[in-house]
């Protein structure tokens, strides 16, 4: 795929995320936008091993979106990969839908855990990784954490545990967009390097530009020979893809005004018909 084609695809994904959220006037848009390349690399470029026709097959790798509020990025990816239908995606947060603002186990195929309350996913993943170790299985467990989420104490219980038990089949991806709802994570909790934190807890740490698909592909393909769990610190931009959203903490939980909408329409190549078909209750 050419770089131009890839950029076009990534823009389409962000458009689908936006339109799905905009149609129900609900979305953690900025949190979902920062995950797009990570999920694209994992799912579309097949670093996450699973059978799209049988996504519950026992031999699958597992993926937990611990920062559950980025759910729209995951749902769009599951729909693009054919694990859920476009109709299911379109039902997001509507009455009767299986897809809510936070992922729910067994709601649709491809959701491995219920998340929403931050700080649970790494422990769930560590338990899964331990089970795989006990059964001498080779499947991997990926857990995507927010950098703000890493302020939760339970994360560090799991970090210590995974290192102590040498869960080298566990991969934590930290979506390090450096922002949380009320500002910069470094201002609020003082941590400036998650890489140093994970290194200090005896994890194998890799750092990557979280919006560079080729670099992500390289990291995900890199064998882990350390016997340590792996932390991939993905440096990202919250709201990536729409200039007025990028790097602005105020966009954590909001949708555009009529004026701001023009920027979304322009930068995500959205047509007037597509906006009209959403019929948002503004």
């Amino acid at each position: 795929m050419t770089k131009q084609d890839l950029d076009k695809t990534l823009k389409e994904i962000r458009k689908e995320i936006f339109l799905t959220g905009y149609s129900v006037n609900i979305a953690h848009l900025a949190s979902a936008f920062s995950l797009v390349e990570i999920l694209y690399s994992l799912y579309h470029n097949q670093h996450l091993h699973y059978d799209p026709k049988n996504p519950d097959k026992d031999t699958r790798d597992r993926f937990i979106l611990s920062k559950g509020h980025g759910s729209l990025a995951l749902y769009v990816m599951l729909a693009r990969e054919g694990i859920i239908s476009q109709e299911q995606l379109a039902s997001f947060c509507k009455p009767g839908s299986s897809l809510g603002g936070e992922p729910v186990l067994n709601s649709v195929p491809g959701i491995e855990a219920t998340s929403g309350s931050l700080g649970h996913g790494l422990s769930l993943g560590a338990g899964m990784a331990l089970a795989k170790k006990l059964d001498h299985r080779s499947e991997k467990v990926y857990v995507l954490l927010g950098d703000g989420e890493c302020q939760e104490g339970a994360i560090w219980e799991a970090v210590m545990f995974a290192a102590a038990k040498q869960l080298d089949n566990l991969i934590a991806i930290i979506d390090d967009n450096a922002l949380q709802k009320m500002g910069k994570t470094s201002d609020i909790m003082g941590i400036t390097s998650w890489a140093e934190q994970f290194k200090a807890f005896n994890w194998d740490v890799q750092e990557v530009d979280g919006h560079d698909v080729a670099a992500l592909d390289q990291i995900f393909a890199k064998p882990n020979t350390t016997k340590k769990p792996r932390a991939i610190i993905a440096h990202t931009i919250k709201g990536k893809g729409v200039s007025i959203v990028e790097g602005d903490a105020r966009w954590h939980w909001r949708l555009p005004s009529k004026r701001e909408l023009k920027t979304f329409v322009q930068e995500l190549n959205i047509s007037e018909e597509e906006i009209a078909s959403c019929r948002p209750a503004m």
């Binding site: 491995e112 219920t114 422990s123 338990g127 089970a131 795989k132 339970a154 219980e157 799991a158």
Partner: protein, 307 residues
């Protein structure tokens, strides 16, 4: 009780390699013996109960049957959201075993007492709650928990509890059991405080009071029929629990009396909206909080004297 738990768990671990004992630095010498024989089936999570509970849910989602064993208060209170979101909400096959319910941690004070756990946990969907009265009944409860496909919470004592069953235990999840027959009042009791109630029942015979003593070893699902049947025969219904009288066994009975439109006078004996006070042996702390055999006998006598 601890010995009985480990004995029952050992049998399960021996039988099924998917059974995993999950400790948070909470094991005993007996656990170490199991670990020696079955090293891959005993996991110490360190002092981190939240991770222990959530990771157990992760283990269960891959087919393991984790038995999470730690100080009762830490499961019921510290890890509550993890129990709710990871175990109950996701309906995972995790067994939560609380060591030292009620006032069993009698020298360590209220941080270690577990006197609101029934109130806190019985509202959680999908969770079965077992409250065995004696060592033999605990063994039966552990075996029964294994057979249930879903979350189970077992609250257990740890103070050399008396055995109240002479022969084999007839333990059935969701079924109360009459332990002593009497005509003056029906006393529902849960957990090992049943020994004090049985002693109180003996003492009260001298006053012409005979008690029907019912062992409630399953808090949830509650055996509603046994309450309905008792209310047909007894005007005085009494609950005894090593727990707050708010939201505990007595409250479950009150719900049934109210919703089934039954006619009875309910007296709830337990901690009256207070953290327990005092230090000493388990019996001494029970006495300091109005739950000695003598206190229970007196409160029952009082209840039976009023209409």
């Amino acid at each position: 009780m601890q010995t009985s738990y480990v004995k029952a768990l050992y049998e399960l671990i021996k039988k099924d390699q998917n059974v995993i004992s999950c400790l948070s630095d909470s094991g005993t010498d007996y656990d170490e013996l199991i670990a020696r024989e079955f090293p891959s089936q005993v996991v110490n999570f360190g002092i981190s109960e939240n991770n222990q509970v959530a990771a157990a849910a992760g283990l269960a989602s891959c087919g393991k049957i984790p038995f999470v064993y730690t100080t009762n208060a830490f499961i019921a209170y510290r890890s509550y959201e993890f129990v709710r979101d990871d175990v109950c909400l996701q309906n995972q096959n995790v067994k939560l075993v609380g060591m030292g319910c009620g006032l069993n941690w009698s020298t360590l004070g209220s941080t270690h007492h577990t006197t609101e756990d029934i109130a806190a946990l019985k509202v959680l969907p999908n969770l079965t709650i077992l409250s065995p009265a004696s060592p033999k009944e605990l063994e039966a409860a552990v075996a029964a928990a294994y057979e249930i496909s879903g979350p189970v919470y077992i609250r257990m004592g740890m103070s050399n509890e008396q055995e109240i069953f002479n022969g084999p235990v007839n333990f059935k999840v969701g079924k109360n059991q009459v332990i002593k027959r009497g005509t003056t009042a029906a006393v529902f009791v849960t957990g090992s405080i049943i020994s004090a109630v049985l002693d109180a029942a003996e003492q009260l015979k001298k006053s012409g009071i005979t008690l029907q003593v019912i062992n409630v070893s399953t808090i949830k699902p509650f055996d509603e029929a046994s309450v309905v049947n008792c209310c047909k025969k007894y005007h005085n219904i009494i609950s005894v629990e090593e727990h707050s009288i708010i939201g505990g066994l007595g409250s479950s009975i009150a719900d049934i009396i109210a919703t089934k439109n039954l006619s009875a006078k309910l007296t709830k004996i337990g901690l009256a909206d207070a953290f327990a006070k005092g230090y000493g042996t388990h019996d001494e702390v029970l006495a300091a909080n109005g739950l000695s055999t003598k206190d229970i006998a007196q409160k029952i006598k009082q209840a039976c004297a009023t209409v």
